[in-house]
Amino acid sequence: MSRRVPLPTAGAFVDQPRGFDLLSLPGLRRFLRWRYARLVFQIPLLVLAVFVIVDGLTGRQLAPRNVATTASWLHYRGLVVIALALVGNAFCAACPLMLTRGPANATKRLLGREFRWPAFLRSKWLVAGLLAAILISYEAFGLWASPWLTAWLAIAYFAAAYAIDVLFPAGTFCRYVCPLGNFNFAFSAASPTQIAAVDPDMCRSCEAKPCLHGRETYADPSRARGDLAHLAPHEIVAFNGEGRFPGCETNLMVPTMTGSMDCTSCFNCVRACPYDNVGLVVRSPTREATTDAWGRRWGLPAIALGTLLLWWGLLNAIQMVPPFYDAATWLAGATGIRSEGVLLSTIFVLTSAIGLAVSFSGALLSDLAGGAGFAPLRALRRWGYVYVVIGFGFWAAHYLFHFLTGAVSIVPVFQHFFEWRGFAVDPNWRLARLVPSAWLFPLTAGIASAYALAAAWVTIRIGLRDFGRRAALAIWPMLLLTVLLAAFQVIVLSLPMEMRGTILGPTS
């Protein structure tokens, strides 16, 4: 039986938000249609990446005094969640890894062939595994305390982006490999903006679909390579220059985008659209979670990734509070595990398994209460969005705790970069906090609670959408789980932090 659903022949292709188009702000659309707009965002992060690598490899190996550890584990992570919460996937938009594209294409031409990404890897399972590997490594190797390893991680990212781009089609790395990007993809579900078609009927009449496939535009058509649709300058509304305008590298077609999953905010679609018909539309941060936006295209792997991110986020934070060390010591004693790496991996696997079991249970109980029958996978696909929203709240609270604690330290850290290299600079190490300590708990608990409320709202909307009059029964198990998770998060945030590099005992 075919699962294909015919697209409507008039009006919107899919359910897209119709809010205020940010690109209608003065100058913004014109800027983003400029072919070098993305480069403007990428260059600052490329420069920062150079500082990270240089200081990480050659600077003082003290995490709070090194650009590598400070910029990577404090500022990058804090600003990522701020951007996701307030705007969208801004850090993929500015990703400097994509500047390896040019050299990769040159190498690809030398190589003479391009491989197909294996079909069995075309889902979110691989990236979930890579994300797990990074989170385990973060704790096991103390990446947060090692500028040198952090620099190597940055180099590995550049090398991986380059290698994947050389061997496979553009966009493969972003879509199927990049753990950072997929973290952003998953949590941009809670962002207040989305790419959407301004007028879907215009898309319907568009033959070349340049937002997806790209286009070439030259006054002299003989200059075109011929692998993209050629549109003459007079066919372009708001002409934005001659040249090649690539389409979406992650294979998203604007009028059929149901959410922001896989959208790198590169704005290739904005530049490629000959009709200036792509918008960046304001929407409710819960919209994507309440419209089954990942269902048709990404399905269970994406939902599972989003669900696991909730539990990994909890573990990532719990690993900094004293009860974790007691529990880890007990587990080491009970199992005889002496290797911290093995112990951390065991805890990670246990947390993932228990987390998935709890997540499945909540979703299944809600389905059963609503009369939907026993179908665990279907239940998780339905209710998993709730976990994504509450998970983002906790990651945001955790990362913001660190960011607010030390955001201003970037000033003395950069001063120290130059002092270390012989410049007459006197770092002011008193610069650290962005807000008084007393504000940290109310702020972070408030953020976690706000997203828990949003998750409760998502629960109610999904219940009403799928269960009609039985929604009042269906939503209770998930609502109860949401409240318990929120309470657990607030308790974790209230505990005193302990930043230890070893979990089986003090180093001295």
Partner: protein, 137 residues
């Protein structure tokens, strides 16, 4: 041209993979450590079981087993996680060759690195690092 420039600048970074910053002076895994100028020895002593709260860090400056007076000593405590505000304290002389912090406090449990710097009267500068784990009270 742009892509070649980016490629060259990125690959040039690979040369740095052979580099590493200088290792910290002294034994950084002990609760007490020492550094030395040509003839001056610095010993740093921390509490046996450090916990969150006020702590006294003692710094001994010895030349041929005789205490060195008149040095300016400061102690900077950093956590191993980026972004934590360091604790900075002077260690005035308490007895001949003995310098003690009087307003130093560990602000959070976890791994700490103490950087002790002594500026000697003759212009010599000694520096030492000590790592230790601070417990909750």
């Amino acid at each position: 041209m742009r892509s070649i420039a980016v490629f060259l600048s990125l690959t040039s970074l690979l040369w740095l993979t052979a580099c590493r910053g200088p290792a910290p002076d002294g034994d950084d895994s002990a609760a007490a450590a020492s550094g030395s100028a040509p003839d001056v020895v610095m010993r740093v002593e921390t509490p046996d079981a450090p916990s969150v709260g006020p702590a006294v860090i003692e710094v001994f400056l010895l030349r041929d087993d005789d205490g060195v007076d008149g040095a300016e000593v400061d102690v900077v405590g950093d956590m191993t996680h980026a972004g934590m505000e360091p604790v900075i304290a002077d260690a005035p002389m308490d007895a001949r060759g003995l310098y003690r912090t009087d307003d130093f406090a560990f602000t959070m449990a976890g791994d700490w690195i103490l950087t002790v710097t002594a500026n000697l009267p003759d212009g010599e500068r000694l520096r030492d690092e000590v790592t230790l784990t601070v417990r909750s009270p």
